[in-house]
């Protein structure tokens, strides 16, 4: 019963996402293949992973789990249903003081089980005018823990205009999701260098960065 409800809710969310954003995936750097990946994306709205999920081919969609903050997604039963049952999210506790499980271990276990992951290395939604917040170190530690998994940058464009923080009615606008070339942690690369390289690879996919 719960499964039927979850796949129905999933289909409804996909339909709504397409209706509002007519979202299109652009596979510039990689092709949509079965290869296991960590997709890392910019984060401006709660709909971000929905859009990535929407443009993934159906087969990959069910093998790809978003990584999300448990403080938000466990707050109400509706969010729990959407986060856990519909999207099968890997829920991590972002607060080191309260957490009982290490997020890197949780993510590594999901990768070991064969899933691909969607992560937002900025750690929180970007509500500033800057295109990208500085990355947290999680992406580096994850790359260190599972160095064989390809890291694919994903730029989500325009969704922040569809539903700015604090608004509850979305404005329909065309969105794109651009997948860049995969990168990997180089031998002996420092945390700082790696995160800077990952940030640059993601920013390079933004249409605004290309325009100026």
């Amino acid at each position: 019963m719960r499964d039927i409800g979850a796949s129905l809710a999933g289909a409804l969310i996909l339909f709504f996402a397409r209706f509002i954003t007519a979202v299109r995936g652009r596979w510039d750097g990689v092709a949509p293949t079965d290869e296991q990946r960590i997709y890392f994306a910019n984060h401006a709205s709660h709909g971000d992973f929905v859009l990535i999920w929407t443009v993934l081919p159906r087969r990959l969609r069910f093998a790809t789990r978003p990584v999300a903050g448990s403080d938000y997604w466990l707050k109400s039963s509706l969010r729990r249903f959407i986060g856990r049952d519909v999207f099968n999210a890997v829920l991590i506790d972002r607060d080191p003081a309260t957490r009982t499980a290490d997020p890197i271990v949780q993510m590594s276990e999901a990768l070991d089980a064969g899933s691909s992951l969607i992560v937002f290395p900025e750690g929180t939604r970007n509500t500033t005018d800057a295109p990208l917040l500085p990355f947290k170190s999680g992406l580096f530690h994850l790359a260190q823990a599972r160095p064989s998994v390809a890291l694919v940058p994903v730029w989500i464009d325009n969704l922040n205009r569809v539903m700015p923080k604090g608004e509850f009615v979305p404005v329909p606008l065309v969105c794109t999701v651009t997948f860049g070339a995969a990168l990997a942690l180089a031998e002996g690369e420092t945390k700082q260098d790696f995160l800077a390289r990952a940030e640059a690879a993601l920013l390079a996919l933004s249409p605004k960065a290309n325009a100026s």
Partner: protein, 316 residues
Amino acid sequence: MTMPHPDLLAVLAGLLGVLIVASTIGYVLQRRLSPDGSNAVVENLNDRIRAWWIMIVLMGLALIGGKTGVTLLFGFCSFAALREFITLTDTRRADHWALAAGFFIVLPVQYYLIWIDWYGLYSIFIPVYAFLLMPIIASLRGDTEHFLVRIAEVQWALMICVFCISHVPALLSLDIPGFQGRNVLLIAFLVIVVQMSDVLQYVWGKLLGRTKIAPRLSPSKTVEGFVGGALSATLVGAALSWMTPFTPLQAAFLALAIVLMGFFGGLVMSAIKRDRGIKDWGHLIAGHGGFLDRLDSVVFSAPIFFHLVRYGWSTT
């Protein structure tokens, strides 16, 4: 639901025939010139033909569905067009309410007014009421940066994408003596003439095109293509007079008006695209770009065609 008029069925059967011929030609060209899918022109042609199938089947279903079908179809076209247009504007956070009102209040109300035939209100709802109310909503947020530009963009988006497009289904509300129950054929006439004009201009341009007509706006448009396309589309219009309340001469005149408005409408929309640094409005229709790329000539010709017919033939 009443039985569709035999003339409408004849038109749809004719379109089906044209599509089958086009698909056959596309298939042969593909086998001959692009067996491995490498000839971009042939692939684009086949993408376009496939998209035409979908557009004509949808259009045919809507026309058979009568007023409700046509109003819903063009309501959705307006929605998709507005979504593409607003995406390219410089609107800011402070315009959020005004934009949401445009999509979820102005658009449905306009199409509802069309559906209930309230000519007195649907012809001024956006130019008067939305024109005055939208800037009020935007000003309440207190953000004055680029204010005039932002409200002008929203106004233009609503006029083009909602007001103008809604004049296609509005053709159903005209009351032409001796033509009752056949108004959907006016829509078929308008859409066929506009789209044939686009196709024929493309064909004539490919065959004879030399002199660019507006190199800065639209490098593919040529004088030869324009003249050849306009004249042949006018002839197509005259040849379609049997399905309209017009004589062949009147049909040719109206077709010419449609073709001219459509052509210059296409130039205006190209100018906007150039200004924004894009080639297509969107990506929803394979081979054609976005909804607005396909609708730009309809946008400019529909209200003029509507008013010419209303003034000259309708009793309402």
